[in-house]
Amino acid sequence: MPHQCTNCGHTFPDGSKEMLSGCPDCGGNKFQFTPNSDRSAEDGADGDADPETPAADSTEAEADGVASRAAETVRGWVSSEPTDESAPDAPEPPAADRSTASAGTADPQPTGDSRGSDPTRNERSTSPGDRGRASDDGDDSFTEWPDSARRPEDRSSPSAESTASDATDDRTGSELNSSDHRTDPIADASSERSEPDHETAAVADSEDSAQASARSEVVPADDLPTGSDVAGEGDSITEVDPIDDGGSEETPDHGRVVSEPSGEQPSIEELRAELNEQFESIKILRPGQYELNLMELYNRDEYIISLQEDGRYVIDVPESWHDDADE
């Protein structure tokens, strides 16, 4: 039961898309995720975001309310004040969002995995730090994480939303959710254990799979970035992440479509040159040798009345007549 409605307790299997349109029983839109296997996820997460992790750790130590911190960090992040800590924090929020989406409690692993795959995403990267924390603690901490988790709604939006939006979500999520959505004591878990982070990570992963499945309906698997396997979340998040990624090291993992166009530029220039040639009405090959584009000459309002020896030419436009015509 990776996903559970926080309102009525309805549970959904990992990868289920049902909650994407609200809880079928109560219509609630808040869910918590319980990863099945935390550690695996954690490991992956850790590996992904080593740099961040340290920061995350530090944050962990400090933090009681991971969510709150995360929110803060996110803010900082958004504001583009990326200290190590902030970076880690930022990642966490996403994870939190994910966790909320999925189900607060459950198995950390899925999320952790997803994150690992996610690396490209900032959130993921940040999450790694969380993961690192989480790794130590284990599953227990996960329960706490749910707070940080976003609502399913938020998740879906993230793609459109940039990191900034995410950050805001996270904040609200962390703060608001902690009270509302999160199963519990995210704060406790987070503060007490680094694990919470792991959980969040795990959550994220699990969510990713769910999102991925949902996405699969709309977007072919082929279109997804390499990392897509890990997390459906990743996909949704991924979009957001790209922005974040700039900061993060992970970018390389996901092949961005953006990179492809580079090869085409030359051809575009060639095309432009070709077009220029085609639209040129008189082409001077060398003095005394000309190629004429009759259609272009015909179509022009103005016409050339004098070609100069130096390659310049005089054009005339309708109704501006000169008396200097030579006979």
Binding site: G288, Y290, L292, L294, M295, L297, Y298, Y303, A325, D326
Partner: protein
């Protein structure tokens, strides 16, 4: 005075007459270089006004400025048709001074080439702006299916201008009017020799019929 001044005057005169029925049709004589356009224009002008239009030459691009003869009155069957004849530079897609270097100094050839290019631009411009009908002159000793001929006739057709195709130089042994008729079956083809004055009656009949 400059030619353009004359054109300006004539245009303003035409503008004044825009709302009258009497304005003569402006018939452009078009075709590739050396098809005999000026020879034809001079033939018509001499036949009906006594003046020549321009200098004829066996060297292509002798006509590098559009020249017109206005108010040429052609009488057919007791009926009078007044037209303005515009002799245009030969239209081509390539002008190369080396084509003339056998006939003149290189500098002159280069200048002739440049002027010819200007002439093509002018001819194309007038085709768009200032002709009411077209006499398309072809050398019947040459292959009529060329890029220039196809394109120009296409443009003329797109303008919905009345057009007559004159298969000139029928005095030459290699002349083939049928080749021209087959190339442009959608248009009336009139065989003639402007230089020798052959078949000019049919020429004038058709001018009066098409442009009167």
């Amino acid at each position: 005075m400059g030619l353009l001044t004359g054109l300006k005057d004539s245009i303003s005169r035409v503008t004044d007459r825009l709302f009258t029925d009497e304005q003569p049709k402006r018939i452009g004589i078009y075709g590739p270089p050396n098809a005999g356009k000026t020879t034809l224009a001079n033939r018509i002008a001499r036949d009906w006004t006594g003046d020549a239009v321009g200098t004829e030459s066996h060297v292509p691009h002798e006509t590098r400025r559009a020249r017109r003869k206005e108010d040429v009155e052609i009488e057919r069957d007791g009926r009078s048709v007044s037209i303005d004849i515009v002799d245009t530079p030969g239209v081509t897609t390539k002008v190369d001074y080396e084509e003339f270097t056998d006939e003149m100094e290189e500098d002159d050839a280069i200048r002739r080439s440049r002027e010819a290019t200007e002439g093509v631009a002018e001819a194309m411009h007038w085709l768009r702006e200032d002709v009411d009908g077209v006499i398309y002159v072809l050398d019947s000793a040459e292959d009529p299916i060329t890029q220039v001929n196809t394109m120009l006739i296409g443009i003329i057709e797109s303008r919905d201008l009345p057009v007559l195709i004159f298969a000139n130089k029928i005095d030459l042994d290699e002349a083939s009017v049928k080749r021209i008729e087959d190339a442009f079956p959608q248009h009336k083809t009139v065989p003639l020799s402007a230089k020798e004055g052959q078949n000019m009656d049919e020429v004038y009949d058709n001018i009066a019929e098409y442009f009167g």
